[in-house]
Symmetry: D5
Subunit: 100 residues, 10 copies
């Protein structure tokens, strides 16, 4: 099942710059692991913001939460999740007939 | 997987009263079928409104959409869906240990 | 009477980690007591957030407030409460006849 | 238990004026019955709007919904309900001691 | 003239606990004085929140502001005020005739 | 007592043009009467909208509602009212001393 | 040209009380200068809030910004500006004819 | 003085297609006249919407309203206006010195 | 360049069912053409709603508008567009070095 | 491609005044460079706010993000971006014919 995930990153202004740099490096490593596992399928940056939209694949919302909360910057993220259903345009013809 | 579903019903003011009564009767029949299937687990009325909050169980968002769109009043519904994750308070002790 | 309760947890970024861990452990203990008393009937996590939706049973809003404010993390919670009415789909047939 | 109820009345622009007048007369009759029963304790008009704020007393949200949906203009109302808890300033001293 | 007043209390997380306790005790004393003067006619707690809805009686908005800003917790309050008009259901029959 | 009043006018698209013109002419006449009575003290147009902001003087919210609902276009208005308190900058020096 | 200006004042909770008192005194002095210049034509307090609505007269938005940013509390203000057009009810008859 | 103007066009679904086409043709003619007069300086389409953002130059909000309400589709427009001040980056060096 | 596009479909309640069916069939045909052109890269259904989220690839916002307005149901769509930037997690290592 | 960019600047209240002044000077220098490159085409101040609306020209959203994040005050900015399509009123006649 796919989920569209919107993430704003709000690190506090007084966060130690070295700790922030370390967190960001760890964040990129963990994000790439999620890409390799097939959990994080796409990620786009919102221009002008410390924010992104991501497409996740997870068995259910509990597994999605586990993936999101494994991100090193998770404590500083404001996250919105939209569960996605398959759209008929992407369904195979046989599926469309069955669903209609 | 569970979903919390918020539904507002907005039938047009000029809907034929007999057709509305027939739709409402069919709606109750279909809702009870979803209860018996284990898809619709709880339903509460929002006091003062033609609205409800419902707890659905479905394999994924595609199956949830199929259940919701099978309701006779679906064309007149404004629906919001919140995917739900398991909360640690409801997990078995072994699960909590595994997730922490 | 049932209430749907939405809770966001906003502990300050500079909260002492040991105090936070102690608060979270006490929170779980108190939540399980409320479950055993029949006050907290269900609880779900909002994926991606430090937030939950809970179903409470309480005689009235005053008793509900007492239950919520007994939670150790209450000072850090942003809480919304929705009073719930019985929905006809869950009523017994005799009740439906009486209410219609 | 008390509830604060916000009501906006939105009768359609093309409603027959005689039917509207009859509905409004019946609304006043029913509102006064609710006052006499002790269900509708106070009602105020929002200046400039076809709207009011009302204070209801009802055993629970199901009984409140029954009272609200008994109003002749109910099909044209947009209603919001806020469940109210007792405030310590209005409690008897003994209650305050017990609750603190 | 009556006003419906919504108050959220937002004391900072690092407020000295003794000062907070002193402010809350002084708040209750002042609130009871306003009750005795007939200025604060009713007060309800919003369940789950450090918030209340109150019914004030004051000659005008300037006098209302003086009453609200006399509360010891006023610097920590986020306040909304709704001016209230008399509703015909509460008017005497003679008034209704004159107003219609 | 003064009130700031925001008015949006929403006449239906299918309103008979002659009736609309008659309503608008009557609206101007009634507005000028309110100006002459000292009830409507200022009125500004919101550029680009069929909307205005107005400054009313009325003894209380009940009298304000009577003035607003006397406007011929009242059934088509969406109105917001803000009760206004005197600001110290406009008070006489003696008043400031008394209020501080 | 006139502008309706809404101002919320949000001084930080930990601002030095003496500095705050000095800022407020300087604010009143500057506001009265703007009144004398004809720039600040009216000012009302929002009851219950550290907020006001003001009516400014300025040649354009650049001059308005210069006036607002000359206020000593400007760094702590959250300001909204609404440009105002002349309303036909306040126009001279000749202007109304020309504009229609 | 410049204004940023946001326009949504909401023609009713049952508007006669010929009348709509005539209105749109007249709209383009009038918009080009405003361009030639120097009143409408730029106009952009919001992708995916029947909406635009426009940059207007007008002596004041009253003249701006006259320009906007001269558009043939004005009765079907939902318009928002933002008054604009000169930004220091666009000021001449001498102006910056004078304004600082 | 990629765009995330949110679409709500709001066909009027009184639309002729045959015309609606024809529009929906044409919509699917056109959507599949956009898929084949590489313009519409992904499309998901929002569960419970007549709504979707889509990922488009277009040279710029003008080309995106042309694609969206070529959809047969476009007159009944409420569309929001979010321009997307490349996220470093999806960049090639050389690009990341160049951008940092 | 053009983008309309809305920027609010929120420097923390306790930012060192010298560092703030240095950042603002560097901001002006960088903004003028973007003007000279043709990236920042117009910039307007929102009166009463530390905010601006800007018109950017960039090949795509990735390049726009690079330009915005090159601004020295970027860490303190809350930025919204609206992708802009060409409006027919600004198209050449040949383009209009091709697009219709």
């Amino acid at each position: 099942m796919e989920f569209m995930v919107s993430i704003e990153i709000r690190t506090p202004a007084d966060l130690d710059p070295e700790r922030l740099a370390a967190l960001q490096a760890a964040e990129t490593v963990r994000a790439r692991e999620l890409v390799e596992q097939g959990t994080l399928r796409r990620i786009w940056r919102i221009p002008g913001r410390r924010a992104n939209i991501s497409l996740y694949e997870a068995p259910d919302a509990t597994a999605l939460h586990a993936a999101l909360s494994s991100l090193p910057l998770f404590p500083f993220m404001d996250i919105g999740v939209q569960a996605l259903a398959v759209h008929p345009v992407e369904q195979q013809p046989a599926e469309v007939a069955a669903a209609s």
